[in-house]
């Protein structure tokens, strides 16, 4: 069993058009590294020059924003879903 990563529309071209990919990894950071290894180009889109996630990139583990957890160090278990979602304005 692996972790499902949901890819936003803007980045699907990097994943051959796929909306979801399944990868192995123990933390968010490891999964994103695996994502980039499988589909080169993800890392430079998700991370800024400072090595941190870009400030308009939101990452959720199941229903929780990882900034409420341990950020990219958040541990991930098999069967969980990681979603990459752009920040959206309010109403």
């Amino acid at each position: 069993m692996a972790v499902t990563i949901r890819i936003p529309t803007q980045l699907r071209e990097l994943a051959g058009g796929a909306g979801e990919v399944a990868l192995e990894g123990g933390t968010i950071a490891e999964l994103l590294t695996a994502l980039d290894a499988a589909n080169p180009g993800f890392a430079e889109r998700l991370y800024g020059e400072d090595g941190e996630l870009r400030r308009f990139v939101n990452v959720f583990l199941d229903d929780e924003d990882i900034r409420f957890l341990d950020g990219t160090a958040t541990a991930v278990s098999d069967g969980q879903v990681v979603s990459i979602i752009p920040a959206v304005a309010g109403g």
């Binding site: 400030r55 308009f56 959720f60 752009p86 920040a87 109403g91």
Partner: protein, 430 residues
């Protein structure tokens, strides 16, 4: 579909080309440009996209007279809005009263204070401005369905404007929203979906749905255009002050978009030659203590905005993960403004203070704004020598819960003179 706004269809001042002056969309983070399309984030860095105008072309046609000859709505500023044709979806949003608030100013120890009273919009909040622009653009793009994530006010506006335009609508709101805001959305007959979660949960679902269905999500895929509607609050303020700008504005902050666009609006007026001098407007932000991620970053001198889980009666400002928070923070810092984060009790007192002194009944967001104005005045950040405009963005009837139990009858008596005089001393009544 357009309503017959007096003076619009008939005026010779109507734009001859009926083409927008938007040249492209530009990423606010990295500056990459994109063609005009229903897109909202940079494909490279996820930064929000913004309309980039041909200001030289606008400057060549726009004038104070041309605006004065336009309709009494946001569409009098059509040259500075990203819509290609005469307003397709128009319930009359905008051109709301700017009210001199001397009694409020006196209470707060301030000098010249004005209230921009946006409670008088068609669905009683400033969201009619942005929705009118967003759905007009949505029709241009050929969308048949309108949608939004909302804390309530946008829900009202999208449901109403969709009904007027004959669009299907899907409005997503947190299930714990005030009952009044659910009813005043559902009455327009579109789909209202209450989500078991807070606004940020709703928004997240909508960001995913927006990638799946060909809908015009006004605050997602047409947000680039939607947000421009907020500039009209600055345009009107300047026009109503006789083409002058205030020294200081106080603006409620949820996503941060409104504050950012009000500042942009003042700057654009100068850019296209409608103001004689470069505006130097100090911009201050108002948040509720129970949802104050931007105010906290300002207070702490931080460059990072940490999301929060909202817990406040000001539900229309309860966005814990504010997408435009960084830009709002920059605007406040660059203009030497300030922020305040006010308690729920202060919000209620702010609502009552504005109602008691000026006869304007604001929703909780307005209470946040007035309470912030009071705090910033007490701290000397808003000064007595400044001309101040406070933006009241929604009507108090939307959030009656906030004042229920706090205000009520002065006396409940029998229908007799004796009972009346028992309750009120006749000597006090003359």
């Amino acid at each position: 579909m357009a309503s017959a706004k007096k003076g619009w269809e008939t005026t010779p001042e109507t734009r001859e080309t009926e083409m927008t002056y938007v040249e492209s969309l530009r990423c606010r983070e990295c500056g990459r440009t994109y063609d005009v399309a229903p897109i909202y984030t940079c494909k490279w860095c996820f930064g929000p996209l913004e309309c980039a105008y041909d200001y030289d072309a606008i400057r060549a046609v726009i004038s104070r007279e041309r605006i004065a000859a336009g309709p009494p709505s946001i569409w009098r500023y059509a040259d500075l809005l990203p819509v290609d044709r005469n307003p397709a979806v128009d319930l009359g949003a905008g051109y709301t009263p700017l009210v001199r608030a001397d009694r409020l100013a006196a209470e707060l120890g301030l000098g010249e204070v004005w209230i921009k009273n946006d409670t008088t919009n068609p669905t009683n909040s400033f969201k009619d401005r942005v929705t009118s622009v967003a759905l007009s653009k949505a029709l241009e793009f050929g969308f048949k369905v309108a949608a939004c994530a909302s804390t309530g006010n946008l829900a009202n506006a999208v449901a109403a404007h969709s009904a007027h335009a004959g669009l299907r609508s899907f409005v997503f709101v947190p299930a714990n929203l005030e009952a009044g805001k659910i009813i005043t959305t559902a009455v327009y007959g579109g789909n209202v979906i209450a989500i078991d979660g807070n606004y940020d949960d709703v928004n997240r679902l909508c960001a995913e749905l927006a990638g799946m269905y060909p809908w015009a999500f006004v605050n997602v895929n047409v947000r680039t255009y939607y947000a421009e509607g907020s500039k009209t609050l600055a345009f009107e303020t300047a026009e109503q002050l006789g083409w002058q700008v205030p020294d200081h504005v106080v603006v409620p902050v949820a996503s941060g978009s409104l504050l950012t666009k009000i500042r942009k609006g003042f700057d654009e007026l100068y850019e296209v030659g409608l103001l004689d001098e470069k505006p130097e407007v100090r911009v201050s932000g108002a948040q509720a203590l129970g949802c104050s991620p931007v105010a906290s970053a300002w207070e702490g001198g931080l460059d990072t905005i940490k999301p929060v889980k909202p817990d406040t009666i000001a539900k229309s400002l309860a966005i814990g993960n504010p997408a435009d928070g960084y830009f709002a923070l920059d605007a406040v810092r660059q203009t030497n403004g300030g922020f305040a984060a006010v308690t729920d009790d202060e919000i209620v007192e702010g609502i009552r203070l504005l109602a008691r002194t000026e006869g304007i009944f604001a929703e909780t967001a307005g209470g946040v704004t007035i309470a912030t104005l009071a705090q910033l005045a007490a701290k000397g950040i808003v000064r007595p020598d400044e001309r101040v405009v406070a933006y009241i963005t929604g009507h108090g009837l939307k959030t009656l819960d906030a004042v229920q139990g706090v205000v009520g009858p002065t006396a409940t008596i029998a229908s007799t003179l004796d009972a009346f005089h028992a309750a009120f001393n006749p000597e006090d009544l003359a």
